[in-house]
Amino acid sequence: MSVSVLVIGAGPAGLSAAVAAADAGAMVTLLDAGDGLGGQYWRHLPPERSSVREARLHHGWPLFERLRERVAADEAITVLTEAQVWAVETTGAVTVRVLVGPADAAGREPLALAADAIVFATGAHDRTLPFPGWNLPGTFSAGAAQALAKGERIAVGRRAVVAGAGPFLLPVARSLTDAGAEVLGVYEAARPLHAAKGWLARPHRLLGAARKGPELAGYLGHHLRRRIPYRLGAAVVEARGEGRVEEAVIARLDADWAPVPGTERTVAVDAVCVSHGFTPRLELPIAAGCRTGPDRFVLVDADQRTSVPGVYAAGEITGIGGVDAALVEGRIAGHRAAGGDRSALRADLRRRRAADDVARRIEAAHGVRPGWRAWLRDDTVVCRCEEVPYGRLRDTAAATAQDSLRSLKLTTRAGLGICQARMCGRTVEELTGAAPASAADTSDQRPLAAPIRLGDLAGLATTPHGGKDTQ
C-alpha cells in the first residue's frame, strides 16, 4: 500500500512537496485555506476572470502553471481549497482538524485528517512595524497591497509610496504600477553599506541562487524604466491626514534605523504600503509539537524533518528564503515524506545550500534594527485590533515589573484581538523586552489556528480519541 502524505499550504513549497511526494509514489492530500493554488507568491485572478497578462505579472508563472496542471491531473493528488486548518491534535496520531468551505460561512464541512506523513508549508505573512498614523485608512501592509493588485487588479491608491525593508518592496512597487498606481518612491530602511555588506559578501555564491538574481534584476530594471526613486537608509516615519492618509513623512535613518532629526520631508500621497520583512506562520507546526530554534523558525534536519516523527516542514517557516528555497525545500520534504530515496536529491541539496545563502544575505542586509522605536510616540497604536498605544504598553510593563509576554498581553490586551497577535506579536515582544516563558508560550502559539463558529464547534462529532482518554 502506498504511503499517505498530507501537505498543508499550496504555495511554492507545498505545491512542490505535493508533486515530489506523488512522484515518489505517495497518495497526497494538498490543503490550502485560500480559494486557489499558488499561495501569496503566485496569487492571481480567479479562473473565471483569468488574464493572459498573468505570465507577464508573475515571476516564474510557467513553473506555477506546470505545477498547477500536474497537481490537477495527477490522480494520486487530492486538492482541497478553502480548507482552513483550525486545530492540530497530538493526543494520538497527529490529526489535523479542517473546516472546508468559504471563509466566514456557517456550516463548513469538518474533517479530521491524519496521514503517514505531514508536510507543513504554511509560509509567512509580511511584518509591519508600527509608526504614527499607520492605522489611518490608506496605509496597507505591502503584502495586502500586493494581494489586491495581483488577486483583484486593484491599486490601493493613485499616488503611493512603498517603504520598509527587504527585496519584497520591489515586486510590490511593480504590482502597484501594473495595477495603475503611481509609485512615488520606494524607501528601504537598510543603509547602502549594510545592504552592500549583505549582498556583496562572497558574490560568487549568489550565482548559485538560480532564480533570485535574475528576479531582482528584473524588478530593478522595471524600476529604472519607470523612474521610481529607490532610496536606501530611509523610511516612512509617519502617515498624516484627516480621516485617511494624505501625507507620508519620509526621514533618513541611521545605521540602527533611528530617524536622523532634521531630515524629515512630506510627500502628498493617498496610499502608504509598508513591509519590514516576514513573520513565519508557525501556529500549526507549534501545535503539532515541532520544536523551533532561537531564531523562531521550525527546526528541520537535512531531510526537512521536524522534531516530531512523520512531520516535515518546508518554505518560509524554516527560514525566510524566498521562492527558490521554498521550491527546493518542498521537493526534499515531499520526496522524503513519501519514503523516497535520499540519493535522488543530490542536486536539490546543493540548490538548497545556495538558497540558504540568499536567506542569510537578506537577513544581514534587511533585518529589523532596534532604532526604529525612536519614531514611536506614546499614542502610536501598537496593537491595532485592541487599540493599545505604545505608551500604555511601556508603562504597564514598568508598573508590573513584568518581563513575560503572557501577563503583559493580558494586562494590556495587546495581541488579544481578532488577529491573535499575527500583526503585533513580535513587535510587542521587542518593545517590552518580554521574553516568552517557554517556546510554547510565544506570540506564535495559537491552539486555535483560525476562528471557528461556536455552532460549528458544537456540531463536531465525538471522535475516538477525544475526551475520555484519561489516565
Binding site: 488579544l416 476562528p451 455552532g455 475526551g467
Partner: protein, 394 residues
Amino acid sequence: MNADVVVIGAGIVGAACARALARAGLSVVVLERGAAAGATSARGEGNLLVSDKAPGPELDLALHASADWPRLAAELADELGAAFPSVEYQRKGGVVVALTEAGAEPLRAFANGQAAAGVAVEHLDAAAALAFEPDLNPALTAAVHYPQDAQLQPVVAAEALLASARLAGATVLTGTEALGAVRDRAGRLVGVRTRAGDIGAGAVLVAAGPWSGDAAAALGADVPVRPRRGMVLVTARMAQRVRHKVYDGDYFGATQSAAADLQTSSVVESTPGRTVLIGSSREQIGFDDRLRVEVLAQIARRAVRLFPFLADTPVIRAYGGFRPYMPDHLPVVGPDHRHPGLWHATGHEGAGIGLAGVTASLLCAQLTGTEPPLDPAPFQLARPSLAAHLGGTP
C-alpha cells in the same frame, strides 16, 4: 539574604499572601521559578463566586471574599494609581439556569440551602430570567439570581497584589526556583536553597498552586494537591448580549465531583474587553496540556444550549490551565503540622482568584498570631479529611 517569610509562588495566592505579610511588617521574599502571574492565575476566568458553593467552610470563605473584594479593589486602585490597569472588579451577579425538568428542583433546593447559610438568593421564573438575560434559551425550567457573584481580571488582580506587596517592601525574584530546604542542626526548616544562594527564613510558605506538591517535595514535605485541567473559549469582540455570569446547574456537579472523567458545564460571561468567555471543562489528566477538540466541542455544545445566539459567534482563542485541586475540595491555608516553619496556601481549585484576598488574611493572622477573619480550623492540613492523603512526620 534573609527574610521573615519566603513565599514560593508568584501567582495570585502567593502575591496576596506576600502583600498581607509585608503590610503586617514582616520582611518577605517571593520566589517564582517562572514568570509572575504566568500559570494558573493567567489561565482562568476570574471568578468570585458564591453561587457554586454548597454550605460549608468554602462558602464561608467565599462570603468573606465577596464582602471584602470591593474594599480590596478600591485599596489597590488607590495605592497603585491610574497608570496601573484596573482589576475590573464587577459585582455583576450570577444567574444559574436549569434547562431540564430533572435539573429544576435540585437547583431550587441547592439555592434554598445556600440562602439558609447566608447567601443572597433570588428565585426567577422564566419571564424574570429572560428579563435578566434576554438572549437566554427560553426553554429554561428554573433560574436563580445570585447578586454576590462577581468577576475580576485575574492577571491584573495578581499583578496588582504583587505590585502592592513590592510597595510594602516585599522582594520578588522571578526565574528563581526553591531547590531545597536549609535546616539548622536540629533539622528545623530555616530557609531555602536557590541557584542564587541560600535565603534564610523564619517561615516558608508554599503557594505554588497545582505545583505545590513539587515545591513541598523539594523541602522534604508533601501536600496532596493535584492538577485539574480546565479549558476556556474566548469569542471575538461583540456587542454585549450576556449581562451576568450565566451558567447551567451542572456546574455544581463538576466542581464537587472527584470523578476523573471529562466534565464540562457552561459558564458564559462578557468581559470589559467585549469578548465572551465560555468555560469550562474539568479533567484529571495530570499536567498534560495537549489540545483535545472533543473538550472544546463539549464546552461549545453546552454554551449554545444556554445561549442559542452564540452558535454564530466566532471563537478566536482557546486556553487551558491547571487548577490546584485537593482530594476533599477545600483549600489548605495554615501551618504544616509535621514540619515546623513550613506553611501552605493552596488547593483553591477554580476559586483561587476570588479567594486570594481572604486566604491571605487568614494565613497572615495565623502566622502573626492575630485575630483571623474566620475560623481557620477547616482549612488546616491536619484536618481529618486529609489524613489518609498525607505522608508522615520526618
